[in-house]
């Protein structure tokens, strides 16, 4: 019994790191209908900037705050300089631009912060917590709690604030949204800044567990994207649930089947969901408009 609980706890921690990345994807998708392939790089940037801050002698708290602020500014700048000038070009062009942005961010970080792997000190020390006989890192609890808070916050944001509703309206129909007085460019800017912020928060939270280097964004982006698809693009709860499901499937596969094929099994689950429930487990039912 104890191994099962340990696998579940491990999967939960791992999955919540995927889920945190997935939340940023979902936010931009909700506002713009764009799949932002630079989302993993935002997560990486948050972690790397915090590491760089600690390296120049800042306290970890200040380093983290500055890293999150810096990444948010980068997110906003990406939207202003790269996305907005494209205007009404096809979504495909915008998606490819995000691929380009990812390469540029990765290249700049490698150039200025180096190729080494780094780690941050865990927020609450190295002593693990014991839950039902399983060990979980204290940092894992930080990740889970933050993720839960973010999901709740986004839920409130989208359903109870004017900005949130306006943002969803933009994705649904940009023309109609602008007709009722919503500034679509402002909402796109807001969504990029917010998702960069979320990414950076995720990055600094998971770095004590997963470590970071200039190239971790690729894998994080892929896993986060997969988590989104699994949970249903556009739903914050779905993104988090998808991430945790992915992590738990990987962990259980490694424990009971084969550690070599754990990622493959998780992706087979993803493909199955895609084929049989294309909108994901928690996604809104898609209505085709003519």
């Amino acid at each position: 019994m104890a191994p099962l609980i340990q696998y579940l706890m491990g999967g939960l921690t791992l999955g919540s790191t995927y889920g945190l990345t997935a939340l940023g994807f979902t936010l931009i998708w909700s506002a713009t209908g764009i799949v932002n392939f630079a989302q993993g790089e935002f997560v990486m940037l948050g972690g790397m900037l915090a590491v760089a801050g600690v390296a120049v002698g800042l306290s970890q708290l200040w380093a983290i705050l500055l890293a999150v602020a810096g990444t948010t500014v980068v997110g906003a700048m990406v939207e202003r300089t790269m996305i907005r000038p494209l205007g009404r070009r096809p979504v495909l062009d915008v998606v490819i631009v995000t691929l380009g942005v990812a390469m540029v961010v990765r290249g700049l970080v490698m150039l200025f912060l180096g190729k080494e792997t780094h780690v941050l000190e865990p927020f609450s020390g190295h002593v693990p917590l014991r839950v039902f006989g399983a060990a979980i890192m204290a940092q894992g609890v930080w990740v889970l709690a933050t993720a839960a808070a973010v999901v709740g916050g986004l839920k409130v944001f989208f359903s109870a604030t004017l900005e949130g509703k306006a943002m969803q309206a933009c994705a649904h129909d940009p023309v109609a949204a602008s007709l009722v007085g919503i500034s679509v460019p402002r909402m796109t800017l807001l969504s990029f800044a917010l998702s960069a912020l979320l990414g950076a928060v995720g990055g600094v939270l998971i770095t004590p567990i997963t470590m970071t280097s200039y190239d971790v964004g690729i894998l994080l982006g892929l896993k986060g994207f997969a988590a989104c698809v699994l949970g249903g693009l556009g739903s914050p709860l779905g993104a988090m649930a998808g991430g945790i499901l992915l992590g738990v499937v990987e962990s259980l596969t490694a424990g009971y089947l084969s550690s070599a094929y754990k990622d493959a099994v998780a992706l087979v689950v993803l493909l199955a969901v895609l084929f049989f429930r294309p909108t994901g487990l928690f996604g809104p039912r898609d209505v085709t408009r003519v």
Binding site: V35, M82, P85, L86, R89, P90, L92, D93, V95, I96, V97, L99, G100, V101, A102, M103, V104, R106, G107, L108, M110, L111, I218, L222, F225, A226, V229, A260, Y261, D263, A264, L267, V268, L270, L271, L274, F275, P278, D286, T288, V290
Partner: protein, 324 residues
């Protein structure tokens, strides 16, 4: 818009035939061979991305599946190279069809997600099935290309063969665009639903193009495996799939000769940029961004602009004379 066949196929092939004379030496020839192999993917992806409006992030996986299948059949099962190659291409096409059938019914980014997932699954197989694939450090000792017992072992001959295959692919792709499938895809720019109401089977056209592009990548894969005689999983990963998309974008998305030029550029550029090794990925990103922003028509569009510009220069003096 009907595309003149000679401009689309004959001229690019002639230019490629002359390149080894301009860039002699075995190193240059290796770069050219890799460029042509990449161009094969680019031609297929030009149809898929540029004309069917679908992104694939898994063509690297198809490339690898064909390469590994052919390597395994020819080495572990001692089949003749031609048979192994046919097996590699055949299996890949079947896998692509099985993936495309359910996926291309769906709208949006379903194909991007599905191909991404499949590409990574395939890469895990190449890495973990050590007994069969040689694992992460690669598959050694693949026989060289041969047909009916004649081994094609000179790089010059390999290059000629590859250019011929690429020419056939370009011709086929051009014909497809001028056929019913091409016309069906053109309706994508208008209303897909309206087209379907008129009886145009857009989904079927997308499937044809997807499977064809996977077939092109598979053919490139088997040729690559038997040219290099060594393959490793890292050559067929997600980043390679992205690089293929970059080639098509640089080429201007819809132009077949443009895609080929994009493939040559993306393959040559890192060799030219060796002096800047640490900033190479950065430069790649900047070029990609600049291209989308300023040359949405890519190399093809840039070529056309330069053509118009030269034409204008040539005409200009006469115009002034007229006025004078």
């Amino acid at each position: 818009m009907r595309r003149p066949f000679w401009l689309q196929v004959a001229v690019p092939i002639a230019v490629m035939g002359l390149l080894p004379l301009v860039f002699p030496g075995s190193y240059s020839l290796t770069v050219l061979i890799l460029s042509v192999l990449h161009a094969m993917h680019a031609v297929g992806l030009c149809l898929l991305v540029g004309h069917a409006g679908q992104i694939s992030l898994g063509h690297g996986g198809f490339y690898g599946l064909a390469a590994y299948t052919s390597a395994i059949l020819s080495v572990r099962y001692a089949l003749p190279v031609e048979v192994a190659m046919a097996g590699g291409v055949g299996l890949t096409v079947v896998v692509a069809a099985l993936l495309g059938l359910p996926t291309l019914r769906l709208r949006g980014h379903a194909l991007a997600m599905a191909t991404l997932g499949l590409g990574i699954i395939l890469n895990i197989l190449f890495t973990e099935a050590v007994e069969l694939t040689g694992g992460p450090s690669g598959f050694v000792g693949i026989p060289r290309l041969s047909f009916a017992g004649v081994v094609v072992d000179r790089d010059g001959a390999v290059y000629g063969l590859l250019v011929a295959v690429l020419g056939a692919m370009m011709a086929l792709a051009t014909n497809i665009l001028n056929s019913r499938v091409g016309r069906a895809l053109r309706t994508l720019h208008g209303s897909e639903a309206a087209a379907e109401a008129m009886g145009v089977d857009v989904a079927q056209a997308k499937r044809v193009v997807f499977v064809l592009s996977a077939g092109f990548s598979a053919l490139a894969g088997v040729l690559y495996a038997h040219y290099l005689t060594f393959i490793a999983p890292s050559s067929f990963g997600f980043l390679f799939s992205v690089e293929l998309i970059v080639m098509v974008v640089l080429g201007g998305m819809t132009s077949i000769p443009g895609a080929v030029a994009g493939a040559f550029l993306v393959t040559w550029l890192p060799e030219v940029l060796r002096a800047f090794e640490n900033v190479e990925s950065l430069l790649f990103g900047i070029i990609l961004l600049g291209c989308i922003r300023f040359f949405p028509q890519g190399l093809a569009g840039a070529g056309a602009s330069v053509g118009r510009w030269i034409g204008a220069l040539l005409r200009c003096p006469r115009g002034e004379q007229d006025r004078g």
